[in-house]
Amino acid sequence: MPLLRIERVVKRFGTFRAVDGVSLDIHAGEFFALLGPSGCGKTTLLRMLAGFEGPDEGRILLNGKDIANVLPHERPVNMMFQNYALFPHLSVRDNIAFGLKRAGMARSEIDARVAEMVALVKLEGLEKRKPDNLSGGQKQRVALARSLARRPQMLLLDEPLAALDKKLRESTQFELMELQRRLGLTFVIVTHDQEEAMTVAGRIGVMDSGRLDQVASPRELYEAPHSRWIAEFVGDVNLFDGEIEAREHHRLTIATRDAGMLVVAEPRQGVRKTTVSVAIRPEKVKLSRLGPAPDAIASQPINRLEGIITDVSYLGALTTYKVRLDSGAILRSSMANTARIDIDAYNLSQRVVAWFTPDDCLVLEQ
């Protein structure tokens, strides 16, 4: 039995369907991410789990029991709020102890648990401070300690790292994962940042316009997205629309408007439509001056396109290129900078061959 089961849940605000028929199981001990652009309904779904909103249709079951009528203060679920929502008139200690006092714990127990939480998030020495006298990172830790103090069955995190700068955000992501593993708790995080979702979560649910489009592991989401929209939302992608011309030996030949004939691997589940999109991630597009090495060609058919480099962005770990194909379309390629001194780097206006294998391509029907 899953810890949490969401069954065909609908939430309406007026005529707007913020959450539109979402079904989802989340298992105990999972780190689950709800990913989507702002306004996709992910926060509304999270607020329904916390009890701040009630579903208009469908059921939410926690441990097999419908929690529709359980008020927020009676749920064994805690939430870490987006802007932390620390109580400004209470000290760090009293913020963390707030939920413990409500649970009617003895004073000595509260003191012990607060000390444990303070140590867990490394806030020693700041117990007497008021939230206004803390840095952003410290506030984030207090909020985390406060929401974990009651040892909830499930911790809900609403964009918990959005207010931190990039470096701190990355280190905090790893601390969150480490914490989740150590405590063995179920974490449900809401985020609009696909990199963050892929870093922390074991499974990701992608939401758009109130619907849950795909639930998958980070790798599956990136390498086998269900739709054009997800392919574009999660990472960068080159997309070419076309018609299926031929189908043989698990290979599809697709006539595209912008990239000519492309040979792609046929998906295992087959393709029903004839009008499709071919998706290739930029890092799978290799560039060279002369084209692929002969031994690469021998093993499988290769897609080979020619064009002129129009844009070079050096990002440190990798360099991204924009290649204007002879059809006028732009193809993006990114190459890891594996050598410090790269004599092979390409320059603007240089003519190059871009190539990729059929297995690097993905056929999308919608």
């Binding site: 009890g51 701040f52 927020p72 939430m79 929502a85 707030f98 939920g99 409500r102 006298n133």
Partner: protein, 304 residues
């Protein structure tokens, strides 16, 4: 260089303008009142002695100075009439402010929790009655409360009473008038603090296991204290010196200090005692302001 001067001068004038205003319209008149409070009443024009006359020379000014005394303040302390007036004013102000807080807080809270587009309309409804003249509204209450007024007619027709009730000239009528008149001054600052409070704070408290009443007492109310303090002061201070409402709606057996002042000034023509009473009143009212100022400073320090 000249450009700098041109801009510097009006800026400096702007900085001292409020002080000039205070000096001219507050400190100088206060000096007059203070001087009169140290004088003796006299049947003359003006009705007190001594009168400073700088045309008579320095010696005459000196003898006039020696004629000043604290007699009027001694009278205020020794005569029960004044002590009782002060006490009554304070009691009325405390009771009325407490009633205002109890009535005003839920209204302000309710408005602050309305959908944003309804909030300005609700605030307008609170303020609109105050576009009618204050005196007209008090007279309207007299109309409602009098022997054959609206209230008695209603009670009689509902058979709740068999004979008309005497409402006017009573403390209840006075409290009704005061609470009615001052309610917006309580609601406005309370609304301002409650409306800008982050709703996530109340949600966080309930998420952490606090039932609704606890959420209110542990989070909402403590965080609205600056608004409570502002509302209480905005009501308390003018109510202590209130004259019109008690004069029109309360009985004549016990007077508030405002009424006593009026009597001394206009009926007894005793300007010096009236001035002394006014100065003591001012000192009484400065005390809560100083406390409020301290509280605000402490809060600013805490926020740092």
């Amino acid at each position: 260089m000249s450009g700098r001067r041109i801009f510097a001068r009006p800026a400096r004038l702007g900085a001292i303008a409020p002080y000039l205003w205070m000096l001219l319209f507050f400190l100088v008149p206060f000096g007059f009142v203070l001087k009169i409070s140290l004088s003796q009443t006299a049947i003359a024009q003006p009705p007190y002695l001594p009168v400073f006359d700088l045309t008579q020379g320095a010696a005459a000014f000196k003898t006039a100075l020696t004629a000043l005394s604290l007699d009027n303040f001694r009278l205020l302390v020794s005569d029960n009439l004044y002590v009782f007036s002060y006490l009554r004013s304070l009691v009325v102000a405390v009771v009325a402010t407490a009633i205002l807080l109890v009535i005003g807080y839920p209204i302000a809270y309710g408005i602050a929790r309305l959908p944003p587009r309804w909030q300005p309309i609700a605030m307008m409804l609170v303020i609109v009655p105050f576009w009618t003249s204050f005196l007209i509204r008090i007279y309207a209450w007299i109309n409602i409360l009098q022997h054959d007024g609206l209230l008695n007619q209603m009670l009689l027709s509902l058979h709740l009473v068999s004979v008309p009730v005497v409402w006017l000239s009573s403390d209840s009528a006075m409290y009704l008038g005061i609470v009615y008149s001052y309610l917006p001054f309580m609601i406005l600052p309370l609304f301002a603090t409650l409306a800008k409070m982050e709703p996530a704070l109340e949600e966080a408290a309930s998420d952490l296991g606090a039932p609704p009443l606890k959420v209110f007492w542990l989070i909402t109310f403590p965080l609205s204290l600056p608004g409570v303090a502002a509302g209480v002061l905005l009501c308390f201070i003018p109510i202590v010196g209130e004259f019109v409402i008690p004069d029109l709606l309360a009985g004549s057996n016990s007077l508030m200090i405002g009424q006593t002042l009026w009597l001394e000034f206009f009926t007894n023509k005793d300007w010096p005692v009236a001035s002394a009473a006014a100065i003591v009143l001012l000192l009484l009212l400065v005390a809560p302001l100083v406390v409020y100022d301290r509280l605000q400073r402490a809060q600013l320090e805490g926020a740092r």
